[in-house]
Every structure is written in C-alpha cells, then in structure tokens.
Amino acid sequence: MKKKIVIGWLLVPVTLVVSLFLVIPLVYMLLSSFKQDGTQAWTINNYLQAVSNPYYYQAFFNSGWIALVSSLVGILLASLFCQALLQLPDKLQEKLTLFSNLAANFAGVPLAFGFIILFGNAGIFKLIFPEWLQFDLYSWKGLVLTYVYFQIPLATLFLYPVLKKVQKNWQESAELLGASNFYYIRKVVFPYVLPAMSGTFAILFANGMGTYETAYALVGSNINLITTRIGALVAGDVYAKPNVGSALAVLFALSMILVIALSQKFMTQMRRVTE
C-alpha cells in the first residue's frame, strides 16, 4: 500500500497540467454559460435559446450527420485498409503505416485547398470525369468526402495494432477445428476487435463533430455546423455572444460525453456476453 502511494506521487505533474488547462477553464465556461451576455446576470436564457432557435439546434443535427457518415465510411475503409495491409510483407506494412500517419496531418486549410483543386467548381477531377460535375464540394457530401480523408488514417492508427494481434494461427486452429471462415470471423475476430472498433468509432465521431478548421475553410458559414457556429458566437466580429456560445459548447460537450459513455457501456456489455 505504501508503495502505491509512492507511485501515486509520480502522477502529480500530469494531474496538475490537466486541472490547470482543462478542468478549471471548463468550470469557468460552465459558469459563464449561465450568465447573460452583457449584463452578466445569472440566467438560463442561453440554454433556452440553444434549444428553441432552429439556427442553433440545426447546427447540431448537421454536424452530427456529417460526423456519423464520415466516421462510418472512415472506419469501414480503415478496417479494409488494415486487413489488406496485414496481408502484405512486413516491410511494406511498416512503410505504408508511416505513410498513412503522414497523410493524417494533411488536415485543415491545406486539405481543403487540395480538395478545392481536385473537386472545386473548376476542379481537375471534374475536368477529367465530366459526370462528376454534379458533385458539389461545398455541400455536406463534399464535407463528408473531405472528412473521410483524415478519418481513415486516424482509424488506422488505432485499429492496425489491434488487428495485427489477430494471429494467423487462430484462423488455422479454427479451421482445424472445422470452423468456416465466416464462423471464425463472427466468433473469434469480431468479438476480439469490437471493443477497439467501438472506441475508435467514438473518437472518429467526436473528431468529426469537433472539426473546425477544415469546415471553416471549405464552406465557411454556408453550412450551419456546431463548431463554426460556436466560433462565430465566441470570437465573432460583430454579434459576439460568448455566453450563448458557452451554453452551446456545454450542450455539445454533454452530447459528446453521452456518445463516449454509450460506446463504453456497449463495450463492457459485449465483453460480458463474450466471456
């Protein structure tokens, strides 16, 4: 027990940083969300606005929808990518994961810029394939396509080490015991990777919801998204309402915590079923 206390002291630096730069500012934000902009009087008016003004609640739905679609597509393509990678020679695998991680940093304004050159109104891809002319990069579909670009490497980072651990000899053993390929995937691989999958999905979803820079560079305020909406309220030029922004941010944070909590509950339930 004494040893544990000694070890516990080693955690103090991280705890300090987290409380100074995350917990305390968050409490501050929570408090200011209950204050009227301007007068600073206590009120719940900010929250009433957030749920009654379609301008605000639609931002939630738009962001949620884009995050959902881009995470689903991202996780699907990343699993496929990891599975394919694992079939390749080890050296090639290492090189490609490195490449994938480098690509993950092509986000924000550079990514938007790259996609505008490709799929913008006079995009090269559209000039080569005229049937793509219908595709509007500055719509939710364009945002999904752009988001998927950074969702795949992010999902790969988390899924690849787990999928790598699904060993070939498991499949061999399953085959020797007479299991079909589908049965093996359903009963061995799927339960094994499911916790990692749902955790990764939660991260991708939150990442999609929280994306500000890419969305801002691509569609500005043409698509009403929660991040750009909060950004405009908090750091906006003319109609800045930082406390309404704080209220939206609190609701946003709560909905994200709900997503993550649900995914963790789902994970523990699945573990109980499989054990």
């Binding site: 080693l10 995350l22 290492e94 550079p110 670009y149 988390f158 820079e213 909060i230 908090v234 941010a249």
Partner: protein, 298 residues
C-alpha cells in the same frame, strides 16, 4: 480441407493502392499548383516555374516561422513524452480503476472544440501573470492527450504488458528492469508512431496557436494562412515545404527506430551477426526476441 499456406491474393494490393491514391492525389495536386505559373480551366497547368519558392526563401518571416514551429513542437513533444509515458504506464498497471476514469477524461478534449478551449483559457489566464506561451503549451498538451494516451495504452495492451510483468516477476526480475529491458523496447514502435502523430499535429496546429498568441508568435501554419489570403500559388508552396519537413521528420524517426532495432538484435542475438541471418531475425515472431531480453534481464 484448405491448404494451410494460402496462395498470394491480389485484393490487398488493390485496396492498398486505391486508398494510397486517395491519400496522395490532393497532395500531388497541391504540389503541382505550387510549381505552376498560372492554372486556369485546364487539366494541366500552363507553365511550370520555381518562382514561388524563390519568393518564399527570400522572406525572413518565413524562415523565422519555420524556426518557431520547430522549437515549439520539439519542446512540447519532449514534455508530453516525458509526462505521458510513465503516467499511462503507472495508471495501466497499478491503478486500473483510475485508468478507467481517465479513459473517459482523455476523451474530453474531443468534446471541446479548440475554439472553446481557447475562450475558456483566455477568460481564465489572459489577465494573469502566466505568459500566454505557457498557456499555449498547456492547451497543446491537452489537445495531444487523447491520441497519446490511447496509442500508448493500445500498445501496452498489444504487447501483453500485464502478462510480461507477471512473468518477469515470477522469474524474480525487478519491475524496473522488466520495464527497461522488456516493455520499453517492445513499445518502441507504438511510441514512435504516436510521437510522429503528435509532432506533426503540433507542427501543424493552427486554431490554438493563432487564437492564444496569434501574430505575436507566427508559426509556419499561421504564416501559411496569411499567405493563402494573398496568393494561392505561394500558399501551396508553403504547404509543399511544410510536407517535406514532416516527411523528413517521419523518415528520420523511422530510420532511428530501425537503427535501434538492429542494435538490440545484435546485442541479443550475438550468433546472428551476418546480414542474411539478421534479416531473418527481424521476421521472427516478436515473442522470440522478448524471451531473449527477459533472460538477459535476469
């Protein structure tokens, strides 16, 4: 019954090539844009030039921005690694209940967009004695927390840390020597990958840096955005250089990790000094080097 050695399949190559094409095309196009004099409604640019790069390298603000970005990213990476690796390790091994709680806490930066973290931080610290650069450091630390925590923890799980610790303890090894000689070498790839991710994230950070310190500390990314509003070609040449830097850093880290790997395989497999055999030892199941190191540790 199917043969145990399955024949070579083609689909993995198709999938990998397709996804790599998706990765590389926007990059390639940005690169081409940087080298083109003008580019209207044609498939290929009119004329190629290096004019934009010449302009860039003559700009002292550009060179300063590169230097600042480097100092900030490397400094923060060192701090993050030094604080995070021991903490995640200790939580994972000795405080499983706390570890579970922290797992949801590290997801919190995802639930808070950078803009909000910035506003909260500005409200809290803008009038305090703490310099904004320190606040920026804290904000960057928080923003890197989820990726760092999750990837270190995932690699801890992937190398069976708990089992290795138990096995080592049963054989009478001191926990410290198990950590140094068995766990850390096996975590290397995971740590290198997450460092890469975190460094590049720091190097390319925009929202926090811009809103907290802004023009007072112009990093490469802030410079890039300032240039983007002026000239697309110039901006894409900054992007090209930014990517070359990231690529070099990535390859450098990769090279170092390989060097380390071959060093440890020389010291543990003294019998396998010739090149051909060393190649084989790399391909072996990772469990064999583990057990070699364990023996040396005891």
């Amino acid at each position: 019954m199917k043969p145990l050695v399955t024949p070579k399949k083609k689909w993995p190559y198709v999938v990998v090539i397709a996804i790599c094409l998706f990765y590389i095309t926007p990059l390639l196009m940005t690169g081409l844009y940087a080298f083109s004099e003008s580019w209207g409604k044609t498939v290929l640019p009119d004329k190629l030039t290096i004019h934009w790069f010449v302009v860039l390298f003559k700009d002292p603000y550009f060179l300063q921005a590169v230097l600042r970005s480097f100092m900030l990213s490397i400094g923060m990476l060192v701090v993050i690694l030094a604080l995070m690796i021991p903490s995640v390790f200790l939580l994972f091994l000795y405080f499983p209940k706390l570890d579970k709680a922290v797992q949801s806490l590290t997801m919190m930066p995802y639930a808070i967009p950078g803009v909000i973290l910035v506003t909260a931080l500005l409200k809290t610290y803008s009038k305090s004695a703490i310099p904004m650069l320190v606040v920026l450091g804290g904000a960057l630390f928080i923003s890197c927390l989820p990726v760092m925590y999750m990837s270190i923890r995932n690699s801890l799980i992937a190398v069976n840390t708990k089992e290795l610790m138990e096995a080592g303890a049963m054989l009478g090894a001191h926990p410290f020597s198990i950590i140094v000689k068995v766990i850390l070498p096996n975590l290397r790839i995971g740590i290198v990958l997450s460092s890469l991710m975190v460094f590049s994230g720091l190097f390319g950070e925009y929202v926090l840096t811009n809103l907290l310190v802004g023009g007072r500390f112009e990093t490469l990314r802030i410079y890039m955005l300032r240039r983007m509003n002026e000239n697309g070609h110039l901006a894409s040449s900054v992007i090209v250089i930014y990517f070359i830097v990231l690529m070099l850093v990535g390859l450098g880290i990769n090279y170092l990790s390989h060097k380390q790997k071959s060093k440890s395989s020389i010291s543990t497999n003294k019998m396998k000094l010739n090149n051909k055999k060393r190649k084989q030892s790399v391909k072996e199941s990772p469990l064999i080097p583990f057990s070699d190191q364990l023996k040396e540790g005891i």
